[in-house]
Amino acid sequence: MIEIKEVKEPKRIPVIGSIMGMFTVFRHLFQKPVTVQYPEVKEELADRFRFRVYLSTDDCVGCTLCEQVCPNLSITMMNLDKENQRNKRKIYPSVNFGTCTVCRNCEEICPTDAIYLKEVFETARTKNNFMYSPTDLEKGEEEVKR
């Protein structure tokens, strides 16, 4: 059965409605601002908020699944000389944050949980290049900036 509700035009009294509207606006003067003064005050982040991609090179097996699943080719595999028994081909993902959309597909598909995301989001810098090599991905944001 289809339930239909006919919506009528708003009931109003001329002029009084407008003045009540003005009063509503004026009343908000005494409300606390809802905005947050960002650099000084930081809002509490939600538990599941994720932004920055991290990589644990010890766990990475070089399966290239993350490269395949990445929707906009932000992840490319890169050679890295590192002793890792499980990663015979010695290839590790590098991420271009300029195009990363934080879809978290790489995190979901990684069979060894080597790639994971964290809530770090302040990645702005003057450098014009957002390519993160596997070693960069392992480090924290502070270290990479230096």
Binding site: I2, E3, I4, K5, E6, V7, K8, E9, P10, R12, P14, V15, G17, S18, M20, G21, T24, V25, H28, V34, L45, A46, D47, R48, F49, R50, L65, Q68, V69, C70, P71, N72, T101, V102, C103, R104, N105, E108, I109, P111
Partner: protein
């Protein structure tokens, strides 16, 4: 100055793509006779990102992020639309819990989308303040999304056969908190706008759209319902859990801009009703289908073709998928509601004033990610 006197009767005026009134990057070529609009020609394509074609180049699971970015203020509804089609094509049935979770998320996002519309419509009419009141509420919804999905707008929350992460008690409590305070705030904004005499004089009997014309042009969604046609995909062809919740289709006989306004606000109230029912009915169970678990994400193969339609905040959102048995879709086609609704603008704004034209284009609720795809 060389130009001695006006030689032509009509002025041609470009509105947009960089113009404060246009939503996104709409460009309108106006032919003006003084203040009267003689002809409107919408020029689109400034936000064309080739989304359909890119979807065809990637795996089934990857297309979601492009659907997120079609209607970026109602991303959940886009995801639902794609997954309705993809899950039919890939023969993956989402578990019962997922169906209810998706219903809640889609309705929350419908609220967010309509709120953005209400604020932008106020701005179109020159009203600054309601914009901030609705955005405060929208921000609460987006905070909920961050809590649930990990990101605000382009959430990529749903996946084929499931959702990204499960609901927990804290989230359910927060959603209930939100819906408890929301109707009061909604009424406040509604009264602020709809009880204003100038607002009524700007919207009443402006842009009258007869139901026959609306059907001819393929207009759907609140635009169509404001013309008095009770057509809603959620009722006509129920998907998700919409056949198991109790809600009404708001229609109006007004056919004008004001009718679209009241219909959208009533729809928000109905959405709150749906959320309140659905949040209590979420059953226990897995939050993804093991057939589409994450390690199999790249191995989903589909064959045949399928069309699924859903009710996005803007109207009927259809997705046509063709699979050729490989891991990538052969063809993705989108029937986007904003694009179809935009086609009515030249018809509605014949011989109206510029101010009315702006009000009409505001009432259509255009999101350009979806028009241009």
């Amino acid at each position: 100055m060389e130009n001695k006197g006006l030689k032509e009767k009509y002025i041609e005026l470009n509105m947009g793509p960089q113009h404060p009134s246009t939503h996104g990057v709409l460009r309108l070529k106006l032919l003006l006779d003084g203040e009267t609009v003689k002809n409107v020609e919408p020029v689109i394509g400034y936000l064309h990102r080739n989304a359909e074609k890119i979807c065809e180049l990637d795996f089934y699971c990857d297309a979601l992020i492009y659907f997120d970015r079609m209607d970026y203020v109602g991303a959940m509804n886009m995801e639902v639309g794609y997954l309705e089609a993809a899950e039919k094509l890939l023969n993956i049935e989402p578990p019962e819990r997922v169906v209810w979770i998706r219903t809640v998320m889609a309705e929350l996002n419908r609220l967010a989308s309509h709120l953005v519309w209400a604020g932008a419509f106020g701005l179109d009419l020159g009203m600054l303040t309601p914009f901030f009141y609705v955005f405060e509420q929208r921000e609460k919804i987006l905070d909920l999304f961050t809590e649930i999905c990990g990101s605000r707008q382009e959430t990529n929350y749903m996946s084929i056969g499931g959702v990204y992460q499960d609901f927990n008690d804290k989230i359910i409590y927060k959603i209930k908190e939100f819906t408890k305070q929301f109707p009061k705030k909604l009424d406040e904004v509604y009264n602020l706008l709809a009880k204003n005499d100038i607002f009524i004089s700007r919207t009443k009997n402006v842009g009258i759209l007869e139901p026959e014309v609306a059907l001819d042009y393929g207009v759907t969604g609140p635009m169509l319902r404001a013309s008095g046609v009770p057509y809603d995909v959620r009722k006509a062809e129920p998907y998700l859990a919409y056949d198991r919740v109790n809600f009404d289709i708001p229609i109006s006989k007004g056919k004008d801009v004001l009718a679209r306004f009241v219909v959208r606000f009533e729809e928000m109230r109905q959405s709150v009703k749906i959320i309140n029912q659905a949040i209590d009915k979420i059953p226990d169970g897995p939050y993804f289908n093991p057939k589409a678990r994450k390690s199999l994400m790249l191995r989903l193969r589909g064959e045949g073709d399928v069309y699924a339609r859903t009710e996005s905040p803007k109207g009927e959102f259809g997705v046509y998928l063709v699979g050729d048995g490989s891991v990538k879709p052969y063809r993705v086609h989108v029937r986007s509601p904003s694009f179809k609704n935009l086609s009515i603008l030249p018809y509605l704004s014949k011989d109206v004033l510029i101010a009315d034209m702006v009000a009409i284009s505001g009432s259509i609720d255009l999101v350009f990610g979806e028009v241009d795809r």
